[in-house]
């Protein structure tokens, strides 16, 4: 099991335990049960809700419900949101937008699930800042992949922030010099949003062509577009 790491004196654990806390959103009872189990078996804490509205309420973002505390819920920080796309009322896309528009929660990675493998839909979600897009039915390997890089991201947290700031400095200098050096920037970033990219340069250097990265439809898209 993972142990809490201390780097440069900072405690990098995100909560009292090492577990990633996932907010799962799906209007289907069957799918909710399955995703909950998939996440638990991947060593996550899970909160499953049946609508985008409830997800926002849980986060404390629902405009109609007054936030009682600063975080608006029991105090358990959400590390990842995984949501179905097609839902009555608020779609997963609309939920994604609301999360990314919020200053408090925009850094939380949001993964979209959909039974429809439509490129336009995938693109739209990625452009809005979605971390990844899973085609349903969801498999254990899909969940493991996402939890793996979410865990990596969380653990590297501040360390990566520093590295990214340094990279931005390098990129700006190289752009000014007219040198488009792909190796200094994350190779698989499609969107130009400022939110955290799914693969840090450390991770992509370690396993750029592993089967798990090729399995994701988003990875395939990203790798194609960077050629």
């Amino acid at each position: 099991m993972r142990t809490t790491e201390k780097i440069d004196g900072y405690d990098l654990s995100t909560s009292d335990t090492e577990e990633v806390h996932v907010l799962a959103v799906d209007d289907s009872l069957v799918d909710r049960k399955v995703i909950e189990r998939l996440l638990r078996i991947s060593s996550c804490k899970v909160t499953a809700v049946d609508s985008g509205r409830r997800a926002l309420q849980y986060l404390g973002l629902d405009e109609e419900i007054q936030k009682k505390e600063t975080n608006g819920f029991d105090g358990l920080k959400v590390d990842l949101i995984i949501t179905d796309y097609c839902m009555p009322g608020m779609t997963g896309y609309e939920l994604l937008k609301k999360v990314k528009e919020s200053s408090a929660f925009r850094e939380i990675p949001v993964v979209i699930m959909s039974s429809e493998n439509v490129i336009a839909r995938i693109d739209r979600c990625l452009e809005e800042g979605a971390e990844d897009f899973i085609v349903k039915p969801v498999k254990l390997s899909d969940v493991k992949r996402i939890i793996d890089y979410t865990t990596t991201e969380l653990r590297e947290g501040e360390q990566r922030e520093g590295a990214r700031a340094r990279r931005r400095g390098i990129n700006k200098r190289k752009q000014r010099e007219g040198d488009d050096d792909l190796s200094s920037s994350p190779p698989s970033t499609l969107s130009s949003s400022a939110s955290s990219s799914p693969s840090s340069s450390i991770q992509s250097a370690a396993a750029p062509l592993s089967p798990s990265t090729l399995d994701s439809p988003t990875r395939r898209l990203k790798m194609t577009s960077s050629e």
Binding site: L29, V30, D31, R37, S115, K136, P137, K139
Partner: protein, 154 residues
């Protein structure tokens, strides 16, 4: 019957369900999620599916019986059924839903009615298959044995 024989029977029966297209690989995914801490997981999910599908099939029957058929509503229900059947690996139900949605798209009532019958039939068939499957599993567990899992290489 000896434990080994029941286990053998379960494996053969499960394989036949794959051969006949009743189940697809997603069912194996569900089985992977079952373990000693959650020994009834598959049974629980499948049960939820049949509760859900019964409601949806009733709604669909009512919706298709209306003087002005609301195809959007019907499509939404079939989409839901397609999704949940896909999540448990009930392949024939899922395929019947896909055909149903095609008739919905072109607003063909006769086609929809036929498809509704087909979806009902497929749900009924696979429900019986699952009941046999779970009965065999119960027999194995009652004898103190473990439920064998199958590999997809067959």
């Amino acid at each position: 019957m000896e434990l080994v024989q029941i286990q053998r029977r379960l494996v053969d029966y499960t394989k036949s369900l794959f051969m006949e297209g009743f189940l697809d690989a997603q069912f194996l995914q569900l089985q992977q999620l079952q373990d000693d801490s959650n020994p009834y997981f598959v049974f629980e999910v499948v049960s939820l599916f049949f509760e859900d599908s019964e409601k949806l099939l009733n709604e669909l029957t009512i919706a298709l019986d209306q003087p002005n058929v609301d195809f959007k509503k019907i499509d939404s229900h079939v989409h839901q059924l397609k999704g949940s059947s896909s999540s448990i690996g009930a392949q024939r139900v899922k395929n019947a839903c896909i055909a149903f949605r095609n008739y919905c798209d072109v607003q063909n009532i006769e086609g929809c009615l036929t498809c509704l019958q087909q979806v009902k039939q497929e749900c009924y068939l696979v429900k019986n298959k699952f009941e046999t499957l779970f009965r065999l599993e119960q027999q194995i567990m009652a004898s103190g044995g473990s439920v064998p899992t199958i590999e997809l290489g067959f």
